[in-house]
């Protein structure tokens, strides 16, 4: 130490002091930020879980009420047209649980996704990937499609809210299981030969996302979450009438 001049020694001590202060203040800042994040997130998650459970309960209640009314209507009109037609249309609209053969597609974010940062979409399954897949399934004659057990259709689109994939208003997470009822052979070979199938396969080898297709002899797809009634007006040929309800109390959760 005798070698160094007094000036350098003072500088060294001052710098060390500064380094100490920096370490402490950064430590404090990070700890505070973590604490703040910890305190808000669970509360939000808890609230969200509560609301989702509440929604399930409400949907169940709504289904019961509809059944009750349907039963009453059936008593009155027996097996006559009305409720039969309602049943057929409900099936067609994807509002009843169905079963049948088809294909099952499993997609998952790449295991590398958490390492490369979530801003990089190449390592994650995006809403567009799921939308394109579903589009292809319909094109190949699929009759019913579900994503992670949530039926998708006219009322339940697939979208992304921030980083979360929604089917209707239901958040679903990776891995995504897309089930489609239809001709298994046609769905299977068609999907693998399709543009979206090729894209997903090449991404799976490039980025490590998961993409698997398999035929299924029999699958059960659940009924979708019941929509609340939509209000719009029917258009009689040659003119329209306006329904009393506010149009665009629209379903679907904006």
């Amino acid at each position: 130490m005798a070698r160094s001049s007094r000036g350098w020694r003072v500088a060294a001590v001052a710098l060390a002091l500064l380094a100490g202060v920096s370490v402490a203040s950064t430590g404090i800042r990070v700890a505070r930020a973590q604490a703040a994040a910890r305190s808000r997130r669970p509360a939000l998650l808890e609230l969200l879980k509560q609301r989702t459970a509440e929604g399930d309960q409400l949907r169940g209640k709504l289904r019961d009420l509809r059944r009750e009314l349907e039963a009453l209507a059936r008593q009155e009109i027996g097996a006559s047209g009305l409720s039969g037609e309602v049943a057929t249309l409900r099936l067609a609209a994807g509002l009843t649980a169905v079963e049948g053969p088809g294909v099952e597609v499993v997609m998952a974010d790449s295991p590398l996704a958490s390492r490369v940062g979530r801003s990089d979409p190449r390592y994650r399954i995006q809403d567009l990937d799921v939308q394109r897949l579903i589009n292809e399934l319909w094109a190949l004659g699929a009759e019913a499609v579900a994503v992670n057990g949530e039926r998708t259709g006219a009322l339940t689109p697939v979208r992304m809210a921030g980083n979360v994939l929604l089917v209707g208003v239901r958040p679903v997470g990776s891995p995504y299981k897309v089930q489609a009822v239809g001709d298994p052979e046609r769905l299977y070979s068609g999907l693998l030969a399709s543009e979206v199938g090729k894209d997903l396969r090449s991404w799976s080898s490039l980025y490590g996302i998961r993409f698997e297709v398999r035929k299924a002899r029999s699958m059960s797809l659940p009924a979708p979450s019941e929509p609340s009634s939509r209000s719009r007006e029917g258009l009689e040929p040659g003119g329209g009438r306006r329904s009393p309800g506010a149009v665009g109390g629209g379903w679907g959760g904006g």
């Binding site: 060294a12 100490g20 920096s22 370490v23 950064t26």
Partner: protein, 110 residues
């Protein structure tokens, strides 16, 4: 050398007690600068053990390391390459390990 370690501890204590506000603009670069400083400190400890410690070298290496690490992260951010900070951490961690190994060999007579 012992004076430096003492200064570091005193500095940390002051930081904990006073809790100075770090400017938000500076906050992302400080952790990198700290990693660089850690490297310089261990380097100094190693030099001390090897008998080649010089306060001049210590001051210069600490200052340039910290400044350069922060500058690299800043550049990475501007260029939109978030991985820059990872690279900086990797490089300094490697050096920290090397210094540690050297220190260990000295002490444990390896």
């Amino acid at each position: 050398m012992s004076l430096i370690v003492l200064a570091l501890v005193v500095g940390a204590l002051i930081g904990l007690l006073v809790q100075p506000a770090v400017p938000a603009a500076l906050a992302p670069y400080l952790p990198m600068a700290i990693v660089a400083a850690m490297d310089a400190l261990l380097g100094a400890a190693r030099a001390r053990l090897e008998g080649s410690f010089s306060e001049r070298t210590f001051v210069l290496s600490l200052a340039t390391n910290a400044a350069f690490a922060a500058a690299l992260v800043w550049t990475g951010d501007r260029l939109g390459i978030g991985e820059f900070s990872t690279a900086v951490v990797v490089v300094f961690s490697l050096r920290i390990f090397q210094n540690l190994a050297a220190i260990r060999r000295r002490i444990l007579g390896g």
